[in-house]
Amino acid sequence: MALRKLPLGRRLLTVDLPMALILVFTLGPYLWMFITSVTDESKLFTEGPSIIGATIDNYTRLFRTVGFGDNLLDSLIVSCGTVIVGLSLSITAAYSFSRFSFRGKKILMLQFLLINMFPLVLLILPLFVLMRVLGLLDTHLALIIANSTVAIPFSIWMMVSYMNGIPKSLDEAAMTDGCTRLGALRRVVLPLCGPGIVATGIYIFITSWNEYLYALTLGGRNVRTITVAVQTLIGEYEVQWGLMTAGGIVGAMPATVLFLLVQKRLISGLTQGAVKG
Protein backbone atom coordinates (compact mmCIF):
# COMPACT_ATOMS: atom_id res chain seq x y z
CA MET A 1 0.00 0.00 0.00
CA ALA A 2 2.93 2.31 0.52
CA LEU A 3 4.03 4.46 -2.37
CA ARG A 4 1.95 2.56 -4.91
CA LYS A 5 0.85 4.34 -8.04
CA LEU A 6 -2.89 4.92 -8.00
CA PRO A 7 -5.00 6.13 -10.91
CA LEU A 8 -5.24 9.91 -10.73
CA GLY A 9 -8.96 10.15 -10.05
CA ARG A 10 -8.86 7.62 -7.28
CA ARG A 11 -5.78 9.20 -5.77
CA LEU A 12 -7.44 12.60 -5.66
CA LEU A 13 -10.38 11.09 -3.83
CA THR A 14 -8.58 8.80 -1.38
CA VAL A 15 -5.36 10.72 -0.71
CA ASP A 16 -5.46 14.37 -1.74
CA LEU A 17 -8.92 15.12 -0.47
CA PRO A 18 -8.58 13.60 3.03
CA MET A 19 -5.12 15.10 3.37
CA ALA A 20 -6.48 18.51 2.41
CA LEU A 21 -9.26 18.15 4.98
CA ILE A 22 -6.78 17.27 7.70
CA LEU A 23 -4.65 20.25 6.74
CA VAL A 24 -7.67 22.53 6.91
CA PHE A 25 -8.32 21.23 10.42
CA THR A 26 -4.65 21.72 11.33
CA LEU A 27 -4.10 25.16 9.90
CA GLY A 28 -7.64 26.54 10.07
CA PRO A 29 -7.50 27.77 13.67
CA TYR A 30 -4.12 29.41 13.08
CA LEU A 31 -5.26 31.13 9.88
CA TRP A 32 -8.46 32.21 11.58
CA MET A 33 -6.41 33.82 14.35
CA PHE A 34 -4.27 35.58 11.75
CA ILE A 35 -7.26 36.90 9.81
CA THR A 36 -8.81 38.14 13.04
CA SER A 37 -5.62 39.94 13.93
CA VAL A 38 -5.55 41.96 10.71
CA THR A 39 -9.23 42.90 10.84
CA ASP A 40 -10.11 46.37 11.99
CA GLU A 41 -11.46 46.27 15.54
CA SER A 42 -14.60 48.19 14.61
CA LYS A 43 -15.46 45.84 11.78
CA LEU A 44 -14.74 42.65 13.71
CA PHE A 45 -18.05 42.39 15.46
CA THR A 46 -20.23 43.76 12.70
CA GLU A 47 -18.89 42.01 9.63
CA GLY A 48 -16.70 39.35 11.17
CA PRO A 49 -13.02 38.72 10.44
CA SER A 50 -12.02 39.17 6.83
CA ILE A 51 -8.84 39.58 4.86
CA ILE A 52 -10.32 42.44 2.82
CA GLY A 53 -9.17 45.81 4.08
CA ALA A 54 -6.41 44.24 6.15
CA THR A 55 -4.75 46.52 8.69
CA ILE A 56 -1.76 46.25 10.98
CA ASP A 57 -3.42 48.56 13.45
CA ASN A 58 -3.69 45.83 16.10
CA TYR A 59 0.02 45.11 15.90
CA THR A 60 1.11 48.72 16.30
CA ARG A 61 -1.25 49.09 19.25
CA LEU A 62 0.20 45.94 20.77
CA PHE A 63 3.69 47.36 20.88
CA ARG A 64 2.73 50.95 21.70
CA THR A 65 0.23 50.53 24.48
CA VAL A 66 0.68 47.04 25.88
CA GLY A 67 4.48 47.10 25.85
CA PHE A 68 4.97 43.81 24.07
CA GLY A 69 8.56 44.71 23.22
CA ASP A 70 9.73 44.21 26.82
CA ASN A 71 7.99 40.85 27.00
CA LEU A 72 9.72 39.71 23.83
CA LEU A 73 13.06 40.72 25.33
CA ASP A 74 12.36 38.81 28.55
CA SER A 75 11.43 35.71 26.59
CA LEU A 76 14.56 36.08 24.49
CA ILE A 77 16.84 36.33 27.54
CA VAL A 78 15.26 33.34 29.25
CA SER A 79 15.27 31.17 26.14
CA CYS A 80 18.88 31.99 25.17
CA GLY A 81 19.99 31.44 28.76
CA THR A 82 18.33 28.03 28.83
CA VAL A 83 19.94 27.07 25.52
CA ILE A 84 23.39 27.97 26.87
CA VAL A 85 22.91 26.11 30.16
CA GLY A 86 21.32 23.10 28.52
CA LEU A 87 23.88 22.67 25.78
CA SER A 88 27.00 23.38 27.80
CA LEU A 89 26.09 20.83 30.47
CA SER A 90 24.89 18.17 28.10
CA ILE A 91 27.67 18.03 25.51
CA THR A 92 30.34 16.53 27.77
CA ALA A 93 27.78 14.30 29.45
CA ALA A 94 26.51 13.01 26.12
CA TYR A 95 30.08 12.37 24.95
CA SER A 96 30.74 10.38 28.09
CA PHE A 97 27.62 8.28 27.55
CA SER A 98 28.35 7.77 23.90
CA ARG A 99 32.04 6.84 24.13
CA PHE A 100 32.84 5.25 27.48
CA SER A 101 31.64 2.26 29.36
CA PHE A 102 31.81 2.66 33.10
CA ARG A 103 30.22 1.50 36.27
CA GLY A 104 26.75 2.94 36.80
CA LYS A 105 26.30 4.03 33.20
CA LYS A 106 22.93 2.30 32.82
CA ILE A 107 21.55 3.83 35.99
CA LEU A 108 22.76 7.29 35.11
CA MET A 109 21.26 7.09 31.62
CA LEU A 110 18.02 5.83 33.09
CA GLN A 111 18.01 8.70 35.54
CA PHE A 112 18.09 11.24 32.72
CA LEU A 113 15.26 9.42 30.97
CA LEU A 114 13.13 9.19 34.08
CA ILE A 115 13.33 12.90 34.81
CA ASN A 116 11.15 13.59 31.79
CA MET A 117 8.52 11.22 33.04
CA PHE A 118 7.67 13.06 36.23
CA PRO A 119 4.75 15.46 36.00
CA LEU A 120 5.68 19.09 36.00
CA VAL A 121 3.32 19.84 38.84
CA LEU A 122 5.57 17.80 41.11
CA LEU A 123 8.44 20.20 40.47
CA ILE A 124 6.74 23.53 40.26
CA LEU A 125 5.79 23.77 43.93
CA PRO A 126 9.22 23.05 45.44
CA LEU A 127 10.94 25.22 42.81
CA PHE A 128 8.74 28.10 43.89
CA VAL A 129 9.69 27.55 47.53
CA LEU A 130 13.37 27.21 46.56
CA MET A 131 13.42 30.41 44.49
CA ARG A 132 11.65 32.24 47.28
CA VAL A 133 14.28 31.16 49.79
CA LEU A 134 17.10 32.09 47.42
CA GLY A 135 15.44 35.42 46.63
CA LEU A 136 15.39 34.61 42.95
CA LEU A 137 11.66 35.01 42.37
CA ASP A 138 10.86 37.21 39.39
CA THR A 139 14.34 37.04 37.89
CA HIS A 140 15.51 35.67 34.57
CA LEU A 141 17.77 33.23 36.38
CA ALA A 142 14.84 31.54 38.12
CA LEU A 143 13.14 30.87 34.80
CA ILE A 144 16.37 29.66 33.21
CA ILE A 145 16.86 27.18 36.05
CA ALA A 146 13.26 26.01 35.85
CA ASN A 147 13.42 25.51 32.08
CA SER A 148 16.72 23.67 32.45
CA THR A 149 14.96 20.90 34.38
CA VAL A 150 13.46 19.88 31.05
CA ALA A 151 16.21 21.09 28.73
CA ILE A 152 19.17 19.22 30.25
CA PRO A 153 17.80 15.67 30.11
CA PHE A 154 16.25 16.28 26.73
CA SER A 155 19.42 17.59 25.14
CA ILE A 156 21.50 14.78 26.66
CA TRP A 157 19.11 12.34 25.03
CA MET A 158 19.34 14.09 21.66
CA MET A 159 23.12 14.59 21.78
CA VAL A 160 23.80 10.95 22.65
CA SER A 161 21.85 9.84 19.61
CA TYR A 162 23.71 12.29 17.37
CA MET A 163 27.11 11.33 18.76
CA ASN A 164 26.42 7.63 18.39
CA GLY A 165 26.12 8.34 14.69
CA ILE A 166 29.74 9.48 14.52
CA PRO A 167 32.20 6.58 14.17
CA LYS A 168 34.46 6.01 17.14
CA SER A 169 37.39 5.40 14.85
CA LEU A 170 37.49 9.14 14.17
CA ASP A 171 38.22 9.89 17.84
CA GLU A 172 40.84 7.22 17.87
CA ALA A 173 42.47 8.56 14.74
CA ALA A 174 42.59 12.02 16.29
CA MET A 175 44.16 10.62 19.44
CA THR A 176 46.72 8.70 17.42
CA ASP A 177 47.65 12.05 15.93
CA GLY A 178 48.24 13.39 19.42
CA CYS A 179 44.93 14.82 20.53
CA THR A 180 43.70 14.30 24.08
CA ARG A 181 40.19 12.98 24.71
CA LEU A 182 38.86 16.49 25.18
CA GLY A 183 40.81 17.60 22.13
CA ALA A 184 39.18 14.87 20.09
CA LEU A 185 35.78 15.96 21.38
CA ARG A 186 36.42 19.60 20.54
CA ARG A 187 38.17 19.20 17.20
CA VAL A 188 36.51 16.15 15.70
CA VAL A 189 33.20 15.26 17.33
CA LEU A 190 31.78 18.73 17.94
CA PRO A 191 32.24 20.01 14.39
CA LEU A 192 30.70 16.82 13.04
CA CYS A 193 27.61 17.00 15.19
CA GLY A 194 27.28 20.76 14.68
CA PRO A 195 23.95 20.43 12.90
CA GLY A 196 22.70 18.20 15.70
CA ILE A 197 23.77 20.76 18.30
CA VAL A 198 22.01 23.52 16.39
CA ALA A 199 18.82 21.48 16.13
CA THR A 200 18.90 20.60 19.84
CA GLY A 201 19.60 24.21 20.75
CA ILE A 202 16.70 25.43 18.65
CA TYR A 203 14.40 22.86 20.18
CA ILE A 204 15.37 24.00 23.67
CA PHE A 205 14.81 27.58 22.55
CA ILE A 206 11.33 26.75 21.29
CA THR A 207 10.25 24.87 24.41
CA SER A 208 11.57 27.63 26.68
CA TRP A 209 9.91 30.26 24.53
CA ASN A 210 6.60 28.41 24.72
CA GLU A 211 6.82 27.59 28.41
CA TYR A 212 4.05 29.12 30.47
CA LEU A 213 3.48 27.59 33.91
CA TYR A 214 6.97 28.25 35.29
CA ALA A 215 6.95 31.71 33.75
CA LEU A 216 3.67 32.46 35.49
CA THR A 217 4.63 31.00 38.85
CA LEU A 218 8.27 32.07 39.14
CA GLY A 219 8.03 35.33 37.23
CA GLY A 220 5.16 37.54 36.25
CA ARG A 221 5.86 41.06 37.47
CA ASN A 222 9.30 42.30 36.50
CA VAL A 223 10.09 39.39 34.27
CA ARG A 224 7.03 38.77 32.17
CA THR A 225 7.60 36.46 29.25
CA ILE A 226 5.56 36.60 26.10
CA THR A 227 3.34 33.65 27.07
CA VAL A 228 2.38 35.27 30.36
CA ALA A 229 1.78 38.55 28.53
CA VAL A 230 -0.54 36.84 26.05
CA GLN A 231 -2.44 35.23 28.88
CA THR A 232 -2.73 38.58 30.66
CA LEU A 233 -4.27 40.00 27.49
CA ILE A 234 -7.05 37.45 27.79
CA GLY A 235 -7.88 38.77 31.23
CA GLU A 236 -7.45 42.48 30.63
CA TYR A 237 -8.75 43.03 27.13
CA GLU A 238 -11.66 40.65 27.29
CA VAL A 239 -13.41 41.84 24.18
CA GLN A 240 -10.52 43.14 22.12
CA TRP A 241 -10.03 40.05 20.08
CA GLY A 242 -8.09 41.87 17.37
CA LEU A 243 -5.44 42.89 19.86
CA MET A 244 -5.34 39.49 21.51
CA THR A 245 -5.01 37.49 18.33
CA ALA A 246 -2.25 39.86 17.20
CA GLY A 247 -0.50 39.04 20.48
CA GLY A 248 -0.94 35.36 19.78
CA ILE A 249 0.55 35.66 16.31
CA VAL A 250 3.56 37.63 17.58
CA GLY A 251 4.07 35.22 20.46
CA ALA A 252 3.96 32.18 18.22
CA MET A 253 6.01 33.62 15.37
CA PRO A 254 9.63 32.99 16.50
CA ALA A 255 8.93 29.40 17.51
CA THR A 256 7.00 28.62 14.34
CA VAL A 257 9.65 30.04 12.02
CA LEU A 258 12.53 28.35 13.84
CA PHE A 259 10.66 25.10 13.90
CA LEU A 260 9.96 25.08 10.19
CA LEU A 261 13.66 25.77 9.59
CA VAL A 262 15.01 22.79 11.51
CA GLN A 263 12.09 20.39 11.58
CA LYS A 264 13.66 17.81 9.29
CA ARG A 265 16.79 17.28 11.34
CA LEU A 266 14.95 17.57 14.60
CA ILE A 267 12.36 14.98 13.72
CA SER A 268 14.95 12.52 12.51
CA GLY A 269 16.74 12.92 15.84
CA LEU A 270 13.55 12.56 17.83
CA THR A 271 12.19 9.57 15.98
CA GLN A 272 15.47 7.68 15.77
CA GLY A 273 15.35 6.61 19.38
CA ALA A 274 11.74 5.50 19.12
CA VAL A 275 12.06 3.60 15.85
CA LYS A 276 15.21 1.74 16.65
CA GLY A 277 15.15 1.54 20.43
Binding site: M1, A2, L3, R4, R11, M19, I22, L23, T26, L27, P29, Y30, W32, M33, G48, L89, T92, A93, F97, K105, Q111, L113, M117, P119, V121, L122, L123, L125, P126, L127, A146, T149, I152, P153, V160, N164, E172, M175, T176, C179, T180, L182, N210, Y212, L213, I226, Q231, I234, W241, T245, G248, G251, F259, L260, Q263, T271, G273, A274, V275, G277
Partner: protein, 311 residues
Protein backbone atom coordinates in the same frame (compact mmCIF):
# COMPACT_ATOMS: atom_id res chain seq x y z
CA UNK B 1 15.03 4.74 25.03
CA UNK B 2 17.79 6.39 23.04
CA UNK B 3 20.16 4.11 21.28
CA UNK B 4 22.36 3.81 24.31
CA UNK B 5 24.40 0.68 24.09
CA UNK B 6 25.23 0.55 20.46
CA UNK B 7 28.88 0.40 21.44
CA UNK B 8 28.78 -1.59 24.63
CA UNK B 9 32.46 -2.08 25.14
CA UNK B 10 34.93 0.68 24.88
CA UNK B 11 38.51 -0.26 24.42
CA UNK B 12 40.74 2.72 25.08
CA UNK B 13 42.08 4.38 21.97
CA UNK B 14 45.63 3.92 20.79
CA UNK B 15 46.84 6.88 22.76
CA UNK B 16 45.06 8.72 25.51
CA UNK B 17 47.38 11.72 25.61
CA UNK B 18 47.53 13.62 28.85
CA UNK B 19 44.61 11.69 30.30
CA UNK B 20 46.20 8.43 29.33
CA UNK B 21 46.98 7.22 32.82
CA UNK B 22 44.88 4.41 34.23
CA UNK B 23 43.41 6.68 36.86
CA UNK B 24 42.63 9.38 34.29
CA UNK B 25 40.83 6.87 32.13
CA UNK B 26 38.56 5.68 34.87
CA UNK B 27 37.81 9.12 36.24
CA UNK B 28 37.30 10.96 32.96
CA UNK B 29 33.82 9.60 32.16
CA UNK B 30 32.57 10.66 35.59
CA UNK B 31 34.30 14.02 35.38
CA UNK B 32 32.58 14.75 32.10
CA UNK B 33 29.22 13.67 33.48
CA UNK B 34 29.39 15.34 36.84
CA UNK B 35 28.24 18.88 35.91
CA UNK B 36 25.03 17.60 34.35
CA UNK B 37 24.42 15.08 37.11
CA UNK B 38 25.04 17.54 39.93
CA UNK B 39 22.83 20.20 38.40
CA UNK B 40 19.96 17.79 37.79
CA UNK B 41 20.29 16.46 41.31
CA UNK B 42 20.06 20.00 42.64
CA UNK B 43 17.23 21.30 40.48
CA UNK B 44 15.19 18.14 39.85
CA UNK B 45 15.71 15.38 42.38
CA UNK B 46 16.06 17.41 45.53
CA UNK B 47 12.97 19.49 44.73
CA UNK B 48 11.03 16.28 44.06
CA UNK B 49 12.04 14.90 47.42
CA UNK B 50 11.04 18.20 48.90
CA UNK B 51 7.57 17.81 47.40
CA UNK B 52 7.26 14.45 49.09
CA UNK B 53 8.48 16.01 52.32
CA UNK B 54 6.07 18.95 52.09
CA UNK B 55 3.19 16.57 51.43
CA UNK B 56 3.68 15.16 54.94
CA UNK B 57 3.36 18.58 56.53
CA UNK B 58 0.75 21.15 57.19
CA UNK B 59 2.29 23.94 55.16
CA UNK B 60 0.48 27.08 54.07
CA UNK B 61 2.70 29.67 52.50
CA UNK B 62 1.39 32.74 54.31
CA UNK B 63 2.14 31.02 57.64
CA UNK B 64 5.83 30.30 56.93
CA UNK B 65 6.77 29.43 60.52
CA UNK B 66 4.06 26.85 60.83
CA UNK B 67 5.51 23.67 59.33
CA UNK B 68 4.08 20.88 61.45
CA UNK B 69 4.50 17.22 60.64
CA UNK B 70 1.11 15.64 60.07
CA UNK B 71 2.04 12.28 58.63
CA UNK B 72 -0.37 11.04 56.01
CA UNK B 73 -3.16 13.44 57.00
CA UNK B 74 -2.99 15.31 53.70
CA UNK B 75 -3.41 12.08 51.78
CA UNK B 76 -6.31 10.95 53.92
CA UNK B 77 -7.90 14.35 53.46
CA UNK B 78 -7.47 14.01 49.71
CA UNK B 79 -9.22 10.66 49.61
CA UNK B 80 -12.17 12.18 51.46
CA UNK B 81 -12.17 15.27 49.26
CA UNK B 82 -15.01 15.30 46.77
CA UNK B 83 -13.09 17.56 44.40
CA UNK B 84 -10.26 15.03 44.33
CA UNK B 85 -12.59 12.32 43.00
CA UNK B 86 -14.18 14.71 40.49
CA UNK B 87 -10.70 15.68 39.28
CA UNK B 88 -9.65 12.05 39.10
CA UNK B 89 -12.69 11.19 36.99
CA UNK B 90 -11.93 14.08 34.62
CA UNK B 91 -8.29 13.06 34.45
CA UNK B 92 -9.27 9.58 33.33
CA UNK B 93 -11.68 10.93 30.70
CA UNK B 94 -9.19 13.59 29.62
CA UNK B 95 -6.30 11.21 29.04
CA UNK B 96 -8.45 8.26 28.02
CA UNK B 97 -10.16 10.16 25.21
CA UNK B 98 -7.41 12.50 24.10
CA UNK B 99 -4.72 9.87 23.54
CA UNK B 100 -6.79 7.45 21.40
CA UNK B 101 -8.19 10.40 19.42
CA UNK B 102 -4.71 11.74 18.77
CA UNK B 103 -3.46 8.28 17.91
CA UNK B 104 -6.24 7.56 15.43
CA UNK B 105 -6.01 10.90 13.68
CA UNK B 106 -2.23 10.65 13.70
CA UNK B 107 -2.33 7.18 12.19
CA UNK B 108 -4.64 8.27 9.38
CA UNK B 109 -2.47 11.30 8.70
CA UNK B 110 0.70 9.21 8.66
CA UNK B 111 -0.81 6.66 6.28
CA UNK B 112 -1.85 9.50 3.96
CA UNK B 113 1.55 11.16 4.17
CA UNK B 114 3.14 7.84 3.24
CA UNK B 115 1.34 7.86 -0.13
CA UNK B 116 2.69 9.33 -3.29
CA UNK B 117 1.25 12.73 -4.12
CA UNK B 118 2.90 15.83 -5.53
CA UNK B 119 2.51 18.19 -2.57
CA UNK B 120 3.60 15.67 0.04
CA UNK B 121 6.63 17.66 1.31
CA UNK B 122 4.47 20.75 1.84
CA UNK B 123 1.80 18.79 3.69
CA UNK B 124 4.45 17.15 5.81
CA UNK B 125 5.99 20.45 6.82
CA UNK B 126 2.70 22.17 7.58
CA UNK B 127 1.09 19.37 9.55
CA UNK B 128 3.45 19.84 12.49
CA UNK B 129 2.71 23.52 13.09
CA UNK B 130 0.29 22.99 16.01
CA UNK B 131 3.00 21.16 17.86
CA UNK B 132 5.36 24.15 17.76
CA UNK B 133 2.85 26.70 19.00
CA UNK B 134 2.93 27.93 22.61
CA UNK B 135 0.11 26.33 24.56
CA UNK B 136 -1.06 29.76 25.69
CA UNK B 137 -1.53 30.82 22.09
CA UNK B 138 -3.34 27.56 21.37
CA UNK B 139 -5.64 28.18 24.31
CA UNK B 140 -6.21 31.77 23.20
CA UNK B 141 -7.15 30.89 19.67
CA UNK B 142 -9.50 28.11 20.70
CA UNK B 143 -11.19 30.36 23.24
CA UNK B 144 -11.81 32.71 20.32
CA UNK B 145 -13.10 29.84 18.18
CA UNK B 146 -15.47 28.69 20.93
CA UNK B 147 -16.61 32.25 21.71
CA UNK B 148 -20.36 32.15 22.29
CA UNK B 149 -21.20 35.34 20.40
CA UNK B 150 -18.69 35.65 17.60
CA UNK B 151 -16.91 32.30 17.59
CA UNK B 152 -16.44 30.52 14.30
CA UNK B 153 -17.39 27.18 15.88
CA UNK B 154 -20.98 28.29 16.44
CA UNK B 155 -21.10 29.80 12.98
CA UNK B 156 -19.87 26.57 11.46
CA UNK B 157 -22.19 24.28 13.41
CA UNK B 158 -25.22 26.50 12.80
CA UNK B 159 -24.61 26.52 9.07
CA UNK B 160 -24.28 22.75 8.99
CA UNK B 161 -27.46 22.53 11.00
CA UNK B 162 -25.80 20.53 13.77
CA UNK B 163 -27.04 22.83 16.51
CA UNK B 164 -30.16 24.92 16.81
CA UNK B 165 -28.71 27.98 18.49
CA UNK B 166 -25.33 29.39 19.47
CA UNK B 167 -23.68 27.48 22.32
CA UNK B 168 -21.34 28.83 24.99
CA UNK B 169 -19.01 25.86 24.56
CA UNK B 170 -16.61 26.65 27.36
CA UNK B 171 -19.14 28.12 29.76
CA UNK B 172 -21.42 25.10 29.62
CA UNK B 173 -20.38 22.41 32.13
CA UNK B 174 -21.61 19.71 29.75
CA UNK B 175 -19.49 20.72 26.78
CA UNK B 176 -16.43 22.35 28.41
CA UNK B 177 -14.40 19.17 28.90
CA UNK B 178 -15.22 17.94 25.40
CA UNK B 179 -14.20 21.27 23.90
CA UNK B 180 -10.88 21.10 25.71
CA UNK B 181 -10.30 17.52 24.57
CA UNK B 182 -10.84 18.63 20.96
CA UNK B 183 -8.24 21.35 21.44
CA UNK B 184 -5.73 18.94 22.94
CA UNK B 185 -6.35 16.44 20.15
CA UNK B 186 -5.63 19.17 17.64
CA UNK B 187 -2.44 20.09 19.48
CA UNK B 188 -1.07 16.57 19.83
CA UNK B 189 -1.99 14.50 16.79
CA UNK B 190 0.83 15.86 14.59
CA UNK B 191 3.31 14.29 17.01
CA UNK B 192 1.76 10.87 16.41
CA UNK B 193 1.64 11.48 12.67
CA UNK B 194 5.35 12.26 12.54
CA UNK B 195 6.39 9.36 14.74
CA UNK B 196 4.19 6.84 12.94
CA UNK B 197 5.37 8.11 9.56
CA UNK B 198 8.95 7.41 10.59
CA UNK B 199 7.86 3.90 11.58
CA UNK B 200 6.04 3.35 8.29
CA UNK B 201 9.09 4.35 6.32
CA UNK B 202 11.21 1.80 8.10
CA UNK B 203 9.05 -1.09 6.80
CA UNK B 204 10.75 -2.59 3.74
CA UNK B 205 8.66 -2.13 0.61
CA UNK B 206 9.42 -5.68 -0.50
CA UNK B 207 7.06 -6.96 2.20
CA UNK B 208 4.14 -5.26 0.48
CA UNK B 209 5.26 -6.45 -2.93
CA UNK B 210 5.46 -10.04 -1.71
CA UNK B 211 2.06 -9.73 -0.05
CA UNK B 212 0.33 -8.35 -3.12
CA UNK B 213 1.85 -11.11 -5.29
CA UNK B 214 0.29 -13.57 -2.85
CA UNK B 215 -3.00 -11.74 -3.34
CA UNK B 216 -3.37 -10.12 0.08
CA UNK B 217 -5.95 -7.34 0.19
CA UNK B 218 -5.04 -3.83 1.27
CA UNK B 219 -6.76 -4.42 4.59
CA UNK B 220 -4.86 -7.66 5.22
CA UNK B 221 -1.62 -5.96 4.29
CA UNK B 222 -2.37 -3.23 6.80
CA UNK B 223 -3.25 -5.75 9.50
CA UNK B 224 -0.36 -8.15 8.96
CA UNK B 225 2.48 -5.93 7.75
CA UNK B 226 1.86 -2.29 8.61
CA UNK B 227 0.52 -2.70 12.12
CA UNK B 228 3.22 -5.12 13.36
CA UNK B 229 5.81 -2.93 11.64
CA UNK B 230 4.83 0.18 13.56
CA UNK B 231 3.88 -1.47 16.86
CA UNK B 232 7.15 -0.44 18.51
CA UNK B 233 6.67 3.18 17.51
CA UNK B 234 3.05 3.11 18.64
CA UNK B 235 3.98 1.79 22.06
CA UNK B 236 6.71 4.41 22.55
CA UNK B 237 4.69 7.33 21.30
CA UNK B 238 1.57 6.46 23.30
CA UNK B 239 3.76 6.35 26.39
CA UNK B 240 5.52 9.65 25.67
CA UNK B 241 2.29 11.34 24.70
CA UNK B 242 0.44 10.14 27.80
CA UNK B 243 3.12 11.66 29.98
CA UNK B 244 3.04 14.87 27.95
CA UNK B 245 -0.72 15.20 28.00
CA UNK B 246 -0.69 14.55 31.74
CA UNK B 247 1.68 17.48 31.98
CA UNK B 248 -0.15 19.82 29.70
CA UNK B 249 -2.69 21.23 32.08
CA UNK B 250 -1.57 24.70 30.98
CA UNK B 251 -4.04 24.65 28.08
CA UNK B 252 -6.88 23.87 30.49
CA UNK B 253 -5.63 26.43 32.98
CA UNK B 254 -5.72 29.21 30.40
CA UNK B 255 -8.93 28.15 28.66
CA UNK B 256 -11.21 27.63 31.64
CA UNK B 257 -9.11 27.69 34.79
CA UNK B 258 -10.96 24.51 35.76
CA UNK B 259 -14.42 25.98 35.46
CA UNK B 260 -17.27 26.34 35.08
CA UNK B 261 -17.58 24.99 38.59
CA UNK B 262 -15.31 21.98 38.75
CA UNK B 263 -16.27 20.71 35.31
CA UNK B 264 -12.77 20.84 33.81
CA UNK B 265 -10.75 20.17 36.95
CA UNK B 266 -8.04 17.55 36.50
CA UNK B 267 -5.65 16.30 39.16
CA UNK B 268 -2.53 18.24 38.17
CA UNK B 269 -4.63 21.36 37.71
CA UNK B 270 -6.24 20.89 41.12
CA UNK B 271 -2.82 20.51 42.76
CA UNK B 272 -1.55 23.61 40.99
CA UNK B 273 -4.61 25.72 41.83
CA UNK B 274 -4.53 24.59 45.47
CA UNK B 275 -0.97 25.78 45.81
CA UNK B 276 -1.29 28.87 43.66
CA UNK B 277 -4.51 30.42 44.86
CA UNK B 278 -4.91 28.88 48.31
CA UNK B 279 -1.13 28.82 48.92
CA UNK B 280 -1.71 25.46 50.56
CA UNK B 281 1.56 23.83 49.61
CA UNK B 282 1.19 20.87 51.90
CA UNK B 283 -2.08 19.72 50.43
CA UNK B 284 -1.04 20.72 46.91
CA UNK B 285 2.11 18.61 47.22
CA UNK B 286 0.10 15.65 48.47
CA UNK B 287 -2.15 15.91 45.40
CA UNK B 288 0.89 16.16 43.13
CA UNK B 289 2.45 13.10 44.75
CA UNK B 290 -0.80 11.14 44.46
CA UNK B 291 -1.11 12.05 40.80
CA UNK B 292 2.50 11.01 40.15
CA UNK B 293 1.98 7.66 41.86
CA UNK B 294 -1.19 7.02 39.83
CA UNK B 295 0.54 8.00 36.59
CA UNK B 296 3.55 5.83 37.34
CA UNK B 297 1.22 2.95 38.13
CA UNK B 298 -0.50 3.32 34.77
CA UNK B 299 2.87 3.55 33.01
CA UNK B 300 4.12 0.38 34.74
CA UNK B 301 1.01 -1.62 33.84
CA UNK B 302 1.18 -0.28 30.31
CA UNK B 303 4.84 -1.21 29.91
CA UNK B 304 4.26 -4.70 31.26
CA UNK B 305 1.28 -5.31 28.99
CA UNK B 306 2.77 -3.86 25.82
CA UNK B 307 6.15 -5.45 26.48
CA UNK B 308 4.45 -8.82 26.14
CA UNK B 309 2.28 -7.78 23.21
CA UNK B 310 5.16 -6.43 21.14
CA UNK B 311 7.26 -9.49 21.67
Amino acid sequence: MPAQDRNPTNRPGPKEGLTGTRLGRSVLPYAMLSPAVIVTLAIVFLPMLQTAWMSLHDYVLFRPNDFTFVGLDNFIAALQDEVFWISLKHTVIWIGVTIPAQLLLGLVTALLLNQNFPWRPVARALIIIPWALPSVVIALMWVWIYDSNYGVMNDFMLRLGLIEQAMPWLANPKTALGAIILTLTWQGFPFFAVMILAGLQSIPRSYYEAASIDGASTWRQFWHITLPGISGVLVTSVLLRTIWVANSFDVIFVMTGGGPGYSTYTLPLYAFVKARTNLDFGYGSALAVLFTILLMGVVMVYLRRTGKAVQ
